[in-house]
Symmetry: C2
Subunit: 155 residues, 2 copies
């Protein structure tokens, strides 16, 4: 009985230790920062997409504020945010595929495409709904081009 109890206790200790290890990996500072940038992209694309689809009334001021925020976010320097060993095969808490680290020039090019699409949106968003809609396609394409190649499927 004593032995069985000890086994059970050490099993729990191992499970706890593993849990802590996984939590630490999900808390990797580079992953947290990358996720935060993606979260802020989504938060500002939300109202622009909703207006483009007609789910939200067009509001020039709100559209401009969201587009201006995106224009700031695409300028963030991310050079510290992609250290080796922070891909989805190495740690939990990220969907970043290892292919990113084998194709940095292509990833950077796709990032530039997003920055250009966002700058076009910044010029268009406050003009009128048609201009906003016209600028939305290039942003969606830039997001998709990168995610299809470099992001693991949601599980």
């Amino acid at each position: 009985m004593r032995k069985r109890t000890l086994l059970a206790v050490s099993g729990t200790a191992i499970a706890l230790a593993l849990g802590v290890a996984i939590a630490h990996e999900a808390d990797h500072p580079a992953v947290k920062a990358r996720t935060s940038i993606m979260q802020l992209y989504a938060n500002n694309l939300g109202p622009l997409g909703a207006m483009a689809k007609g789910d939200m009334a067009y509001d020039a001021d709100a559209a401009s504020k969201a587009a201006n925020n995106l224009a700031l976010l695409v300028q963030l320097d991310q050079s510290r945010l992609w250290p080796q060993g922070t891909d989805a095969d190495s740690i939990s808490g990220t969907r970043a595929l290892p292919a990113i680290w084998q194709n940095f020039p292509d990833v950077a090019e796709k990032g530039q495409a997003l920055a250009q699409a966002v700058n076009a949106m910044q010029a268009a968003a406050g003009a009128d709904l048609e201009a906003l809609r016209g600028a939305m396609g290039a942003i969606g394409k830039a997001c998709g081009d990168c995610h299809e190649t470099y992001r693991a499927p949601d599980q």
Copy 2:
């Protein structure tokens, strides 16, 4: 026995339902965006603070990149991010005290103090370590002034 099993099952169902409710509150889009901005502040203050304390060798390029990122982040429009009912007394997943919503002008003033301190850091970070150190105090004071008044203690 049947009754006891049913009670146990419904207890689990209630716990699961509560768990889902708490998860949804923590996932409030405004809270997620606010947390993301704070996370990105921390990610860029990290190397600046480490250099100031002598825990990391001074690197003008790295310091400038971090300061430039902060200068972008303080420009983000947050007008959509503080809706009524997203304080720590109303939902989980945030430490934002209700006092924020009773003192918006003061919160905005404290935000301006941070923006000014960050702009001074942007000018100083790439110059030399003494300039960086000199700019760090005002940033720490701006963070502390807001957190002491408007953020619930960590639990």
